[in-house]
């Protein structure tokens, strides 16, 4: 479904991503793990067109999307939950969710999806009229994920959903991520918490200094001594 070939991302002269190739199959959940600064976020940003690729190509459902307009990916079915959540601070929770459905016109189905999101995250329903900026970090993460789901994406890109959250909140968020993946949605997950990411996913890629150094079944990676030493603190 998603094919990334030889993708490069650079900031000025500095190469953040050096020619990486990987793919995500339809219905699959794939983890991209690696240390801080390995180039994971840059990779997601290039796929979602927040950043321009310096080279290489991204294909989605057979279509080349490497250089489409920055507002186009969501129309193709790609939703990114950005690093740091990117909640609109002075829109209400309900308006933030409505922004997720900005490209849709099917009012009845949008109303259903509001219910679906509120079903996943009852807290958001309680706070529907509150401004996004007044939510706690965990609630903002719920909102960012809910907002992405409001576009009915075919591919969900998650950038560090556990970052800065209390363990109980991480658990809650990942419950929903698992439920969404189990319902058949394709998910590409970036995490520093490698254990959690690999336990949740079917396959994984390990990124180091802008390159993919390892890949395979999530279970195998979890048992790989190199991964265990570098990312699982053993």
């Amino acid at each position: 479904m998603l094919e990334v070939t030889g993708l490069r991302v650079a900031y000025g002269g500095i190469q953040a991503v050096r020619s990486i190739t990987f793919h995500v199959n339809e219905g699959e959940m794939v983890a991209l793990i690696g240390a801080n600064g390995a180039g994971k976020t840059s990779t997601l940003k290039a796929i979602a067109r927040v950043l321009d690729a310096a080279g290489g190509d991204v294909h989605f459902c057979g279509e080349k999307i490497t250089r489409i307009a920055p507002h186009a990916p969501i129309r193709k079915g790609i939703a990114l939950v950005p690093e740091g959540r990117g909640v609109f601070p002075r829109l209400t929770v309900a308006e933030n969710l409505a922004m997720g459905a900005f490209v849709r016109d099917d009012k009845a189905a949008i109303a259903e999806d509001f219910e679906m999101v509120y079903g996943h995250f009852p807290r958001l329903r309680e706070r529907a009229d509150q401004l996004g900026g007044t939510l706690s970090g965990g609630e903002q993460q719920m909102l960012a994920i809910g907002r992405a789901l409001m576009s009915r994406p075919r591919l969900l890109l998650l950038d560090e959903p556990s970052m800065g959250l209390a363990p109980i909140m991480v658990q809650k968020i990942f419950e929903v991520v698992r439920a969404v993946a189990a319902s058949g949605m394709t998910v590409l997950l970036i995490e520093q918490n490698a254990k959690l990411a690999l336990e949740t996913s079917q396959r994984g890629y390990v990124m180091e200094s802008g390159e993919i150094t390892l890949n395979g079944d999530a279970k195998d990676l979890l048992n790989d001594p190199k991964v265990r030493a570098a990312y699982l603190g053993e």
Partner: protein, 307 residues
Amino acid sequence: MDIFLQQIINGLVQGSIYALVALGYTMVYGIMGLINFAHGEVVMIGTLVTITVAGSLIKVGMPVALAGLAGLTASVLVCMALGWGLERIAYRPLRNAPRLTPLITAIGMSIILQNVAMIVWGRNYLTFPHLLPKIDFEIAGANFTAIQLLIVLVSGMTMAGLAFLVYRTKLGMAMRATAQNPQVAGLMGVNSNRVISAAFVIGSALAALAGVMVGTYYEIAHYQMGFMLGLKAFTAAVLGGIGNLAGAMAGGILLGIIEALGAGYIGDLTGGFLGSHYQDIFAFVVLIVVLMFRPSGLFGEKTGDRA
């Protein structure tokens, strides 16, 4: 006391006009952090287009009310096109330039528009056609005219309409989202170019309306009239908190009233040394005081150091 009330009424009228113009500054600033110093010139073009269109239609015998309406429509359309074109030609190519660059470009556009207007309409003062009959009202010893009443009413309705657009429609939500986080708004599918164009076009329509009001009120127009009006409206936007719509409305009306009261009492205050033609100093004293003591304005949040 009747002078006080009279000046409040005068200030409310002038302030409504400032508010309409200030909204244009604040919308563009809120979305892209640019102070469009050419905005005052859009008001001027609005006035002059109305003079040409309404004036010539009256000359060929069209009823005054109809000619006025045609002039207003033409002026709104021309200004909307002008605002759209300004952004397209002058500011869009500089979207990623250092922020001083578009600011200087804006001043340049202001000068260009003044000179184009001078070439088209000449350097002399022009008379604005009488579009409304002169009807006077009196309350508590203060006089006001039908024109003044209409200016305040139309401004109020226009501002209510704008508030509806911004807070109750999808376009308005996209504008607010883009102002708060353009990158994430893009992820949601918002085309930032369209939102920015919309801000310019809507702001320019309000400027055209203000231009027609200024013309109807003072019955005189000139190619340089937009400069001072623009600076005052900018002051009003800063006073209210630039980037904030309610702030621009309140700032405009407040500035109008401060100015009118200042003009009304400056003679008494200075023992006749300064007359009411010094009223312009009040706006800029307000600007300096706001920038010194409350740079984020009355309603503004901290906006960081955007130019």
